[in-house]
């Protein structure tokens, strides 16, 4: 029983469930959505370390996603390089851009940092439009498919699943390490963390570069899935979407943001009226969560479970051994008398 509750077993069961999706999905479209969730999750898992664990409110990750996508489309599509290598290069480029963005902006306090990242996402879109020769400008670029076993939708789904698992595993490990604890301490009190000897700027920068790498990889997969990318794909609202996934899921959790990504991606697809009102819906959801349950929906689930199945507190009632007590008292009074 103890074995079943461990993190790795839960992860394993989750993967097993996800692998079974192609066998019972009704049509290609549902597999497409599942793949999209996986790709978003690669980005969100990286962003979660920045937002949920380090407390740095980056609302501009769509810029890094865009960079990864375009790098992949240019390298693998236009120049004809190996797709796997191109994907790795787009990841590294995402990480590098994360470094370049993080170096000046991570020194800034909360609102300043959020504005800097938002401006970054606008800049990326501006440059994509300006460099028409390289990126196709407003017309866009075709994103190539991956070779043989992964070119079909189902094959590509398994490929994305493998990468998403890798990133989940990596972020689980980071969170449990000393580094993860340092990140949480930065989120809760920067001054206290600094006083305890946490290298604040370096820790923030490393985790931000990691999230940039995740965004780059995610962008490469995204370009391949969508098969055609234009600057209109990478609007600021998409950034907001990633951000809302994490906030709704809850800070300092990995399962919560994952559920947030699944629900928020799938919900507008399942309920048609929501698709048109998508961004309005995200805004309202964000407001409700911030006002009513700032800890996130993940916390709500915890409370619910507590209610149904309260955690048993082991109590061990002690029965007083009366005869032994009496004997002790007798011996005690005897020794007292002896002393007199």
């Amino acid at each position: 029983m103890k074995h079943l509750n461990s993190k790795s077993t839960q992860l394993f069961l989750g993967i097993l469930f996800c692998s079974s999706i192609p066998f019972w999905a009704n049509d290609q479209y549902q597999i497409h959505i599942a793949t999209l969730i996986g790709i978003y999750w690669v980005l969100v898992s990286g962003l979660n370390l920045v937002v949920g664990f380090t407390g740095q409110l980056s609302i501009g990750h769509v810029g890094l996603l865009s960079i990864g996508s375009y790098a992949f489309a240019i390298l693998a599509g236009k120049l004809g390089f190996d797709p796997y290598l191109s994907m790795l290069v787009s990841g590294c480029l995402g990480g590098f851009c994360g470094l370049m963005l993080g170096l000046p902006s991570l020194r800034l306090p909360g609102f300043y940092f959020a504005m800097a990242t938002m401006a970054f996402s606008l800049i990326v879109n501006e440059l994509v439009l300006a460099q028409g020769d390289l990126t196709g400008g407003g017309i866009g670029l075709a994103g190539p498919l991956f070779p043989a076993p992964f070119e079909s939708p189902i094959g590509f789904y398994y490929f994305v699943l493998a990468i998403a698992t890798l990133f989940t595993w990596a972020s689980l490990n980071i969170v449990r390490s000393m580094w993860g604890r340092a990140l949480i301490s930065i989120r809760d009190s920067e001054v206290a963390a600094q006083a305890m000897g946490v290298p604040i700027f370096r820790a923030k920068l490393i985790v931000f570069v990691f999230s940039g790498f995740a965004a780059g990889i995610s962008g490469a997969l995204f370009a391949s899935l969508q098969s055609y990318i234009t600057p209109d794909t990478f609007v600021f609202e998409l950034s907001l979407f990633f951000f809302v996934c994490i906030i709704i899921g809850g800070k300092g959790s990995i399962l919560g943001p994952f559920l947030g990504t699944v629900v928020l991606t799938a919900l507008p697809e399942l309920a048609a009226p929501l698709a048109k009102l998508g961004n309005l819906f995200y805004g309202i959801l964000l407001l409700i969560v911030v006002l009513v349950i700032p800890e996130g929906i993940g916390r709500l689930a915890d409370m619910f479970i507590q209610k149904i199945r309260p955690r048993l507190v082991k109590t061990e009632p002690m029965k007083p051994d009366l005869s032994r007590l009496a004997q002790t008292l007798v011996t005690y009074s005897d020794t007292k008398r002896g002393q007199k």
Binding site: A116, E126, L129, P294
Partner: protein, 286 residues
């Protein structure tokens, strides 16, 4: 060249107006609201709606713009700031105001349409007036008026002094019998009204456009951060600098690099002088 200068000055003054609004809200609540630019956007959209669609006189359009701006400022305080400050978590106000900004932007997008629509002429004037066109001097004049008015308000009136007291130390102000909640609400109302006014005055320059809010929020913030948080003169200087930079960059290099240059200016100033040109340094982190 003079043409570029005047156009840059006019748009810079719009940014300066947004920066002034940031200052008014920041003074009483220490919150930088994401909805600041949207207050101006609402002024432009509702002004255009009242004049072009409902065919009302422009004074009524102005009144509508100011009232809607003030109402949204009030809503911002009520939903986005008050409950959050009561819980005293540092980052949550950013999320709640971001959510409010998204909601209002999407609602306007659904109702008004996602295309920029022209703002009507306010005063009968020939369209080839060139540099003396009202679309340039209206925002410049209104923003200067706003800056002078705010300065007088802070220095000369009782409520202005109460605002200053709250910005210095809210706890001490409360201890002296100032109803801080009420004053904060007043500051959001004032800021919303000013935003509606600025959006109305700048309507012919910026058009009545639903996505304008986010641009103004960002550029107004850059102007504020360059000039120094909390300083009204700094806001004017920052706004003018940013507007001129934008205009000349797009004149020389084309319009594609505006945002890049604006953020370049922001990061340069923040790296050299983190508190901005005229801002005051925060002394104690603990």
């Amino acid at each position: 060249m003079l043409n570029v200068f005047v156009a840059g000055l006019a748009i810079g003054m719009v940014f300066a107006a947004v920066a002034l609004m940031y200052n008014v809200m920041y003074s009483t609540s220490k919150v930088l609201s994401v909805t600041t630019g949207h207050l101006s956007m609402l002024g432009g959209v509702f002004g255009a709606y009242a004049i072009s669609v409902l065919h009302l006189h422009w004074t009524i359009g102005l009144l509508a713009a100011v009232l809607v701006g003030a109402a949204f400022g009030w809503i911002t305080e009520l939903l986005g700031v008050r409950r959050i400050l009561a819980k005293s978590d540092e980052h949550l106000w950013l999320l709640s105001t971001l959510a409010l900004a998204t909601i209002v932007q999407q609602l306007i997008g659904l109702w008004w349409g996602t295309e920029p629509k022209p703002f009507p002429r306010l005063i009968a004037q020939d369209f080839n007036a060139g540099l003396l066109d009202q679309k340039f001097w209206l925002p410049i004049g209104i923003t200067l008026l706003m800056a002078v008015g705010l300065e007088l308000f802070y220095k000369r009136t009782m409520y202005g002094k109460v605002f200053m007291a709250m910005s210095e130390d809210p706890f001490a102000a409360r201890a002296r019998g100032i109803s801080t909640d009420q004053i904060r609400q007043m500051s959001y109302l004032l800021s919303g009204a000013l935003g509606g006014l600025a959006g109305f005055a700048a309507g012919q320059l910026t058009f009545a456009y639903f996505a304008l809010g986010l641009t103004l929020t960002l550029n107004g913030f850059i102007a504020l951060a360059v000039g120094g948080l909390g300083s009204n003169i700094g806001a004017l200087i920052g706004g003018i600098a940013l507007g001129l930079l934008n205009a000349f960059v797009s004149h020389w290099f084309g319009g594609e690099y505006q945002q890049t240059m604006a953020v370049g200016l922001l990061l340069t100033v923040l790296l050299v002088k983190p508190e901005g040109l005229l801002g005051s340094r925060k002394l104690r982190p603990v």
